[in-house]
C-alpha cells in the first residue's frame, strides 16, 4: 500500500502530513500514559507491535498475479486503539522509507494515514461495535484485522486517485476504480488469511495472559472466560 516517493503531488503530501502528525503525536502521549499506568502493558505492546513489524515485511502473492503485504495492525488496534497503532506504523513506514525505498519521506504522511490511522480507526469501530455484543472474541479479532487491512488499501486507492503526480485516467472516479482493482480487490484473500492468523495469536494471549486483557478492559471477564473454554 505504499505510495512511492515522488508519485504524490506536493500539496497532497503536505495535506496528508498535516493529518498524520497530530494523530501520531497524540499516540505518543497515549503510549506514555498507558505504559506509566501499567508496566505489564509493555510486553503486550511488544507482541502487538511485533506483528506489525513482522507481517508488514511479508510480501504475499495475490491470486491476480501481483503481490502485496498484510498490515498486521488488528491486534494493536484491539489492545491499544488506533492512536498508539499509528505510532508503531509510523516507525515501520519510516524504516521502510529510509532503508527499503518502499514509500518515501514525502509520502510518509499519506502512508501513515492509510495504514496507521484510517485502517485502525475502521478496525477500532468494528471492535467497539462487537465488544459488548454476543459475537465470539475470535470472530471479532478476525473482522477487526481483516477490515483494518482492507480499508488501508481502499484509502491508498483514493489517495492515489486524488493526488497522483500524473492522473492515471481521465477523471478521479475512474482512477479510484482502477486503483481499487490494483490494491483492494487483490488484498481480499490476504486480509482473510491475516484475520484468521491473528485470531489464533489472540487465542494464545487469552490462554497465557488473560489478566492483562482484563486490566486494560479489552474484553469483559465473561467473554474471556467463554473464549478460554471453547477453542
Amino acid at each position: 500500500m505504499h505510495i512511492m516517493e515522488g508519485y504524490l503531488s506536493p500539496q497532497w503530501c503536505i495535506i496528508w502530513w498535516i493529518i498524520a502528525l497530530p494523530c501520531v503525536l497524540f499516540g505518543i502521549y497515549r503510549l506514555k500514559h498507558i505504559t506509566n499506568a501499567d508496566r505489564e502493558a509493555l510486553p503486550l505492546l511488544g507482541v502487538t507491535g511485533g506483528f506489525i513489524f513482522l507481517l508488514s515485511s511479508l510480501k504475499l502473492p495475490t491470486p491476480f498475479g501481483s503481490s502485496s503485504h498484510p498490515t498486521g495492525t488488528g491486534l494493536s488496534v484491539i489492545c491499544f486503539g488506533p492512536w498508539i497503532t499509528s505510532v508503531v506504523c509510523a516507525i515501520v513506514l519510516l524504516f521502510q522509507a529510509l532503508f527499503l525505498a518502499h514509500g518515501g519521506l514525502s509520502t510518509l504522511g499519506a502512508n501513515v494515514v492509510s495504514m496507521g490511522i484510517v485502517g485502525p480507526v475502521v478496525g477500532y469501530t468494528v471492535y467497539r461495535l462487537l465488544r459488548n455484543s454476543p459475537v465470539n472474541i475470535y470472530i471479532t479479532v478476525f473482522l477487526v484485522t481483516a477490515l483494518a487491512d482492507l480499508s488501508t488499501y481502499i484509502v491508498t486507492s483514493f489517495q492515489l486517485a486524488l493526488g497522483a503526480v500524473h492522473p492515471a485516467t481521465g477523471n478521479v472516479g475512474s482512477s479510484v476504480i482502477l486503483f481499487l482493482g490494483i490494491f483492494a480487490v487483490t488484498q481480499i484473500p490476504i486480509a482473510i488469511v491475516e484475520g484468521i492468523v491473528l485470531a489464533l495469536v489472540f487465542k494464545y494471549i487469552v490462554l497465557l495472559k488473560p489478566t492483562i486483557l482484563l486490566r486494560l478492559k479489552i474484553f469483559s471477564e465473561a467473554k474471556i472466560n467463554a473464549a478460554r473454554g471453547d477453542d
Binding site: E5, G6, A168, T169, P189
Partner: protein, 99 residues
C-alpha cells in the same frame, strides 16, 4: 478443555492460500507477481508517457543497490518483529510457570 478448531482453520486457510498461488503461477508462466505498489506506479507514469525512472523524488531517497540487499533489510524487519513476539511469549510462559 480447549479444542484445536482455530489451529486447524489456520492451517487450512494457509494451505488454501498456497494452493491458489500454485494454481495462479501454473496457469500462466509469465505471471510476474510484481508488487502492487509498482503496478500502480507504472499506471501513473504510463498515463503521462513518462518512464518510472523519470519521476523525480520530492525528497532524495536511498535505494537498496540490489534485490538481495533489499531482501536482507526486509528479513531484518521481520526478525525484529519475530524477536519481540518470541521474547514476550517466552516471558509470559515463564510467568505462568512461576505462578
Amino acid at each position: 478443555m480447549h479444542t484445536y478448531r482455530l489451529e486447524i482453520l489456520t492451517i487450512v486457510a494457509i494451505a488454501a492460500f498456497c494452493m491458489v498461488f500454485l494454481y495462479t503461477s501454473s496457469i500462466s508462466r509469465d505471471t510476474a507477481f510484481a508488487g502492487t505498489d509498482s503496478i500502480a506506479a507504472a499506471k501513473i507514469s504510463g498515463s503521462s508517457g513518462t518512464s518510472p525512472e523519470k519521476i523525480q523524488p520530492l525528497i532524495p531517497q536511498w535505494v537498496p543497490p540490489s534485490g538481495e540487499i533489499e531482501s536482507t533489510l526486509f528479513g531484518l524487519q521481520a526478525a525484529i518483529g519475530g524477536g519481540f513476539i518470541g521474547g514476550v511469549f517466552g516471558y509470559w510462559i515463564g510467568q505462568k510457570k512461576n505462578g
